[in-house]
């Protein structure tokens, strides 16, 4: 069973996203001499950072309960802001 799990873990799956060639070239030059060994590695790193930030933000916006948000929207409508 454990071996099966290990086997599954090794099968990290990838997909392809497209970026403009010009941007690809800029990144390739940018990472020369840095710890990044490929453009894909760099892009993954940056995206993880951005995604984490966005997820955190989403969580924060969810910190306002739906009920509270509804009340705020009602007030904003009443005052003519929306």
């Amino acid at each position: 069973m454990d071996n099966h799990r290990e086997g599954e873990k090794r099968k990290t799956r990838y997909t392809t996203v497209s970026i403009p060639v010009t941007l690809y070239e800029r990144i390739r030059k940018l990472i020369e001499g840095t710890g990044f060994t490929s453009v894909s590695q760099f892009v993954t790193y940056v995206l993880r950072e951005v995604v984490a930030e966005m997820e955190e933000e989403k969580l924060k916006s969810e910190a306002v309960s739906e009920e509270e948000k509804k009340a705020i929207i009602e007030r904003l409508k009443r005052l003519g802001y929306i």
Partner: protein, 386 residues
């Protein structure tokens, strides 16, 4: 997306209606401290997250850090101490760890947990915050009149102080929902204590050109004699927006907070506060929050260099003037013509015109704005009122 609150979390020290009932009962049994309008406004601003991450009035460690380092004790940028001053006789029998009730206009406003009672040196405060101890400076004069001790500690706000501009007063929680509802991701905030002239309109529209929305957030509350009255500022902005701004890209909302006239330090404070409202950009004017000749014209720009971690982008918009050759409002970066063609819009000159009942020329002020100001019999705060 809108800015994260300063410190990562929007503070909420308001209480639920159910808890309020209980706390109101408790407040009547507690030692009572009467506070003035500015302190009441600060308490409401703390409770509604305008001053996030502050949860109360500053304890000594934060106070000293802010004076010396322009940072809170957790290293977050913060430039103006938010303090509660009392006289020793106000707190006879009050010890650290006690709860006290803050009263405003005879009504319980907040309950405060007294974490620390400490002394302060007003001259040192004035020198560090205002860069002067000259009692002619309105902020210094006000500081010297304050009480002798400071109390630090968290608060729970029982109810909002009365707000004459309730219909255009939004809290950070509300502006954040509003900006999101409007789909704004880049929001330029504009701080003001003045009626708008053509120079203001120019910088606001310059900022709006590359952002999604403009958040005009005039200060209401204590200001020095000779400044415009709150209702005049509000009416003037309403007139400007009605006639000259696309409504879907502007939000006008007042903020009750006293002017300190602390120049560069206050400019950073203004930016932090607008970050908490969700703004991503903050317009920093020439001699922002300055008064007289106490600060250099661009000192308020320079101070921002010390805060790479502020979390809101300052927009340094150059002073606008009317160029007779260009035939429009411009600034020195985009106008090649010599000084003789340039007409500077001086606030002092405008005030003099308005005081004498004269309508300013249209290159200085929109006629609709001038009209609402001139309709007021007393558009300025009197010497005996501040």
């Amino acid at each position: 997306m809108v800015s994260r609150p300063h410190g990562g979390r929007l503070i909420d020290r308001t209480v639920s209606p159910k808890r309020r009932e209980r706390l109101l009962e408790e407040a009547r049994e507690l030692p009572r401290i009467n506070v003035n309008e500015s302190i009441a406004a600060d308490a409401a601003n703390i409770a509604h997250g305008v001053y996030s991450p502050l949860e109360g009035f500053m304890v000594q460690e934060d106070y000293i850090n802010v004076l010396d380092q322009m940072r809170l004790s957790n290293d977050l940028p913060w430039t103006i101490p938010i303090i509660l001053d009392v006289d020793p006789e106000d707190i006879i029998g009050v010890n650290e760890g006690d709860d006290i009730a803050l009263y405003y206009r005879g009504e319980p406003l907040a309950i405060m947990r007294v974490e620390e009672i400490y002394g302060w040196n007003k001259k040192e405060y004035a020198m560090k915050v205002f860069k002067t101890t000259d009692p002619n400076h309105p902020g210094v004069a006000k500081t010297f009149k304050r009480r002798e001790l400071l109390i630090g500690g968290s608060i729970d706000l029982l109810k909002d102080p009365p707000e004459p501009f309730e219909n255009i007063r939004l809290w950070p929680k509300e502006t954040r929902v509003l900006f999101e509802a409007r789909g704004w991701k880049r929001i330029a905030a504009f701080q003001t204590r003045n009626v708008p002239h053509m120079g203001h309109e120019y910088v606001q529209k310059a900022a709006l050109t590359f952002t999604d929305g403009l958040f005009i957030n005039p200060l209401v509350g204590w200001k020095k004699p000779g400044d415009y009255r709150d209702e005049v500022i509000v009416k003037a902005y309403k007139a400007l927006i009605e006639h000259y701004y696309p409504k879907e890209v502007v939000v006008l909302s007042v903020l009750r907070m006293e002017m300190r006239y602390a120049g560069p330090r206050e400019a950073v404070h203004h930016a932090i506060v607008r970050k908490n409202f969700g703004a991503t950009h903050f317009i920093v004017g020439r001699d922002h929050a300055g008064v007289g000749n106490y600060y250099g014209p661009y000192e308020a720009w320079e101070i921002f260099r010390e805060f790479p971690d502020l979390g809101i982008t300052p927009l340094f918009v150059r002073e606008a003037f009317y160029c007779k050759k260009c035939g429009q409002m411009v600034n020195e970066k985009i106008c090649p013509h010599p000084e003789e063609f340039r007409i500077r819009i001086s606030g002092t000159k405008l005030r003099k015109m308005i005081m004498s009942g004269q309508k300013p020329p249209e290159y200085m002020m929109r006629p609709e704005v001038a009209r609402v100001i001139l309709e007021h019999s007393k558009p300025f705060i009197g010497e005996d009122e501040a």
